[in-house]
């Protein structure tokens, strides 16, 4: 017999728990859901746009009644549970409907606070929590004029904006002098007030409500001090209180909310609780992002997997009022141990404030330009050391070039047929449709349903904007520690650590040690684990070909038609007639359809069939050429300029330096591809300042630049240091590569890596600590002993992976 699970509270947190549970353990429970509201589960966040007439109830349904039926769940809608009998494990609703349980989940949400001043029970006085409240407000707005909203917080302002859009005269009454004081300082609050006033909302600040007047219906509001204003509709939006009545009645321990541990269990081990009704480590939450984290932790335990834990999380807030761009997170007030960086431009209506302590962000307010909100939130959440980016911190991340995309309020104004993801041909309309019809909330969900932002990622910002716009401007998901993939809950860093400490030398050993949930991992973790063991234990680790992407498995790039491209190494971009002749002859002999000069100073032979690869390699090998690794997460090219040998401005022999670096570093496997360049003078013809490691020669020596990228997101390098001798260039280069190899996450190029760890860190490890630099350099050279084997030659000789290059069988027409 299946166990019985009963959910009380048909809202966002409870239903999210069931969805997560069904995804991991679909058959474990017979499920019954009690909901006091007479509907399926809808997206409460979007009540504001419904009020503003921008959406309808249908648009915001997350789980319609059909969904419950399809998943075999009994929905008792419109039934409020009034009793829990813990001895007999039974719940009873007010109409007598009863259900027994093996496990019970409480997700009763929160109740809006109604200040009990005289007249609060008059008709026309309402709160803003449920669809019925919205319907009532819409009804009033049709027949009357004056609306008064009590409370100038997020909810109150969204209500005021909605009612304004419905054509009412709206006055917002606030007890304090600053609007949204829990999210804004007085500076930003004042700016917000000014723009809302411009749109037509009136404010009464510092006013305390004394009573509501009227006979049956409300007619006015009276304040302390005697002021009275007319009102046909009063919306009370002064806050919420966790709904714990039911739990208290059943004797489950509550304080402000229902107390739960890190696994979302209450004091009664059969009873779990999630959502706004919950108090965890003395905190209650009123935004969906942390509640969804609770839901996934709870589902994990209901499914008896038993390893997830809920961590106290930070939330950020935005206001869903069209035309107002606002973001706030963390401690934005600060104290005498913090500093603040502030930017204020009244005529543009922009205000930004970042509170910093020990070079780490504590909180932020952005008003008028919140495009970088998600970025600051990430820096805050990860407690990233920001000393290197302090100077440009307020300018934000969006000042960095971005090929093809950008523009902060693009999402709203885009038409549905406009392409968002250039890689996968996904238009805005596809994304909006997936979000609304499939009830998506997170970037990951949008990625897997639409493929948008799942390839190069350059449209991620835009997709996030569309999500924000569609979901109502506010969903900000970002669990603190991101697992490598869905096969386990471990992060990149945790996995690297375990590999080191436990001396794990194969991907399978890692998966076994960490008790992976899947048998063979997936296409995300396998290549990562394979790299991590190789990087940690050179010469000892087992390199598993089946865990490498096809390009690395067959040492050529797969093309859209399934053929491959071949790029031989051309050291430092310098070639000879003999090499060119060999390339030309190979191209003719194997009828290569396209021969192209690449952007990396070498030659690409495109459209080669897989079976032909060993043959074309053999010919190129014979002319002394080896694989260019144009396919690998490894050293790619070292671009050079002609330098001192020929150029009238050259200060050093940049060409030889490039060749030397390439000879030293080729073959090394890395977290992502790695490109270098050496320029002979600061005119920088080899474009060294957009490379992972760039060298620029000057009269007195060599400048070493790191962390550049000219791809999806253009990022110039930062100066690591200046050195005098060639030997130093070599040592610093090897040390930098090794630091990157040992630290970065798989598929993280040096640019995002340096942004994450800080240039400061790289300087500390490489420039300031000579002993450490030497050790890194030595470790790199040691690993190169095992890496520098031409993979082409090994395969030409038939020593490796012969099965890759021939069909298993030709069933010719004679057979068939």
């Amino acid at each position: 017999m299946k166990q019985k699970l009963v959910l009380v509270g048909n809202g966002m947190a409870g239903m999210r728990t069931l969805e997560e549970l069904l995804a991991i353990a679909p058959d474990r429970y017979d499920i019954t859901v009690f909901g006091a509201e007479p509907h399926g589960n809808y997206n409460r966040i979007l009540l504001s746009p419904v009020l503003a007439g921008e959406k309808t109830l249908e648009d915001i349904m997350l789980n319609g009644e059909q969904w419950y039926a399809d998943n075999g769940i009994t929905l008792q809608k419109g039934k409020e549970v009034v009793k829990i009998d813990r001895c007999n494990r039974k719940v009873t609703a007010s109409d007598g409907t009863a259900e027994s349980y093996d496990r019970l989940l409480l997700a009763t949400g929160a109740d809006p606070i109604m200040i009990p001043v005289p007249g609060h029970d008059l008709e026309g006085v309402t709160t803003f929590r449920k669809i019925e409240d919205v319907n009532a407000m819409l009804e009033f707005s049709r027949n009357s004029r004056n609306a008064v909203v009590i409370g100038g917080g997020l909810l109150g302002l969204e209500a005021a904006y909605g009612l304004l859009r419905q054509g009412m005269y709206v006055t917002v009454v606030h007890l304090l002098d600053t609007l949204m004081e829990r999210q804004l300082d007085s500076e930003a609050g004042t700016m917000l007030k000014r723009s809302l006033e411009e749109s037509g909302i009136q404010f009464l600040m510092g006013a305390e409500t004394e009573s509501f007047t009227g006979k049956d219906r409300v007619e006015g509001v009276r304040f302390k001090g005697g002021l009275r204003i007319a009102a046909d509709l009063v919306v009370m939006a002064v806050g919420i209180r966790p709904n714990i009545a039911l739990a208290q009645q059943a004797g489950i321990y509550c304080e402000r909310g229902i107390l739960v541990n890190d696994t979302m269990q209450t004091y009664d081990p059969r009873i779990y609780a999630v959502g706004e009704c919950v108090q965890h480590r003395n905190q209650t939450y009123g935004f969906v992002a942390p509640l969804f984290n609770q839901a996934s932790v709870c589902a994990n335990h209901l499914a008896e997997l038993g390893y997830a834990k809920f961590h106290t999380t930070l939330s950020s807030a935005k206001l869903k009022v069209t035309g107002i761009d606002l973001f706030s997170a963390g401690d934005f007030i600060g104290d005498d141990t913090t500093e603040e960086v502030v930017m204020k431009d009244v005529s543009r209506g922009v205000y930004k404030k970042i509170v910093i302590k020990d070079n780490r962000i504590q909180g932020a307010i952005l008003y008028g330009d919140a495009a970088d909100g998600a970025w600051y939130f990430e820096l805050l959440r990860d407690q990233t050391d920001i000393r290197d980016i302090r100077a440009t911190l307020l300018v934000g991340q969006s000042h960095l070039g971005d090929s093809g995309h950008g523009g902060k309020n693009l999402a709203a104004s885009m038409s549905d047929d406009k392409e968002v993801c250039g890689c996968n041909g996904v238009c805005k309309g596809d994304i909006v449709k997936a979000i609304t019809t499939k009830g998506l909330f997170t970037l990951d969900e949008v990625r897997s349903h639409t493929k948008a932002s799942s390839s190069c990622g350059s449209c991620t910002g835009l997709v996030e904007q569309i999500m924000a716009h569609t979901l109502g401007g506010d969903y900000s998901e970002t669990p603190k520690l991101k697992p490598l993939c869905k096969c386990s809950d471990y992060t990149h860093d945790e996995i690297r650590q375990v590999i080191k400490v436990q001396r794990l030398t194969s991907y399978r050993a890692v998966m076994e040690y960490l008790e992976y949930r899947t048998l063979d991992g997936c296409h995300i973790c396998r290549p990562a684990l394979n790299y991590y063991v190789i990087a940690a234990w050179p010469g000892e680790a087992l390199d598993d070909p089946q865990s490498r992407y096809i390009n690395e498995r067959v040492h050529a790039n797969i093309q859209k038609d399934g053929t491959f491209s071949v790029i031989p190494r051309i050291w430092g971009g310098v070639t000879t007639p003999k090499e060119l002749r060999a390339i030309a002859e190979a191209a003719e002999k194997y009828q290569v359809p396209t021969v192209k000069i690449t952007g990396g100073q070498r030659i690409d032979l495109l459209g080669v069939k897989k079976e032909v690869l060993p043959h074309i390699w053999e010919d190129l090998n014979r002319a002394g050429m080896v694989s260019g690794f144009a396919y690998g997460k490894s050293l790619r090219t070292v671009k050079t300029c002609v330098g001192q040998e020929w150029c009238r401005f050259g200060t050093q022999d940049s060409t030889s330096m490039g060749v030397k670096l390439e000879k030293l570093t080729w073959g090394s496997w890395m977290p992502h591809k790695f490109k270098m360049a050496v320029s002979g003078c600061p005119r920088n013809c080899a474009e060294a300042t957009v490379k992972d490691f760039g060298v620029v020669a000057v009269e007195s020596g060599w400048e070493l630049h790191v962390g550049g990228n000219a791809g999806v997101k253009v990022r110039p390098t930062e100066l690591l240091c200046k050195v005098e001798t060639e030997q130093e260039v070599v040592e610093y280069c090897c040390a930098f590569i090794q630091l990157y190899r040992e630290n970065a996450h798989y598929l993280e190029r040096t640019a995002p890596w340096i942004e994450r760890v800080g240039l400061f860190y790289a300087k500390q490890q490489i420039v300031e600590d000579a002993g450490n630099r030497k050790a890194l350099h030595d470790r790199f050279l040691d690993s190169q002993k095992y890496a520098q084997k031409d993979p082409w030659a090994e395969r030409v000789r038939g020593e490796k992976d012969a099965h890759e290059f021939a069909p298993l069988k030709q069933l010719s027409s004679r057979h068939v």
């Binding site: 996968n424 499939k438 897997s448 349903h449 493929k451 799942s454 390839s455 899947t518 048998l519 063979d520 991992g521 997936c522 296409h523 396998r526 290549p527 070909p545 089946q546 865990s547 992407y549 096809i550 797969i558 859209k560 399934g562 099965h803 069909p807 298993l808 069988k809 030709q810 069933l811 010719s812 027409s813 057979h815 068939v816």
Partner: protein
């Protein structure tokens, strides 16, 4: 009646990989899982015709090398949220020999 063609030994296909059989119905990918199950699918991804045989095999799934669609080998169907399906062919292993039938499955 279905005719079985012997296409090689199971040892010719490394675990967690695939080999291709060329037929006049086009290329057919023969997959071998960690548990030595063998599956045969038409070697054409429903998305943009990528060669599934070149993908990474995990569990009873393969990830297409071109744009990461995940295909369930047992059903010949893409794993949700991806969509699409591909023809399956009967295969069997007897005494380590692999046999393929060209009678296209449902």
């Amino acid at each position: 009646m279905s005719e079985w063609f012997e296409i090689g030994s199971i040892g010719d296909i490394p675990r967690l990989s695939a080999r291709v059989v060329e037929t006049n119905q086009g290329s057919i990918a023969i997959f071998r899982t960690w548990g030595d199950e063998v599956f045969a699918l038409r070697d054409r991804c429903p998305h943009k015709a990528g060669p599934l045989s070149q993908g990474i095999v995990h569990g009873t799934r393969v990830t297409c090398p071109l744009h990461n669609l995940v295909m369930d080998l047992t059903a010949g169907k893409a794993v949700a949220p991806d969509e699409g399906c591909v023809a399956r062919y009967p295969v069997k292993v007897e005494n380590s020999r692999v046999f393929l039938s060209l009678e296209c499955g449902p």
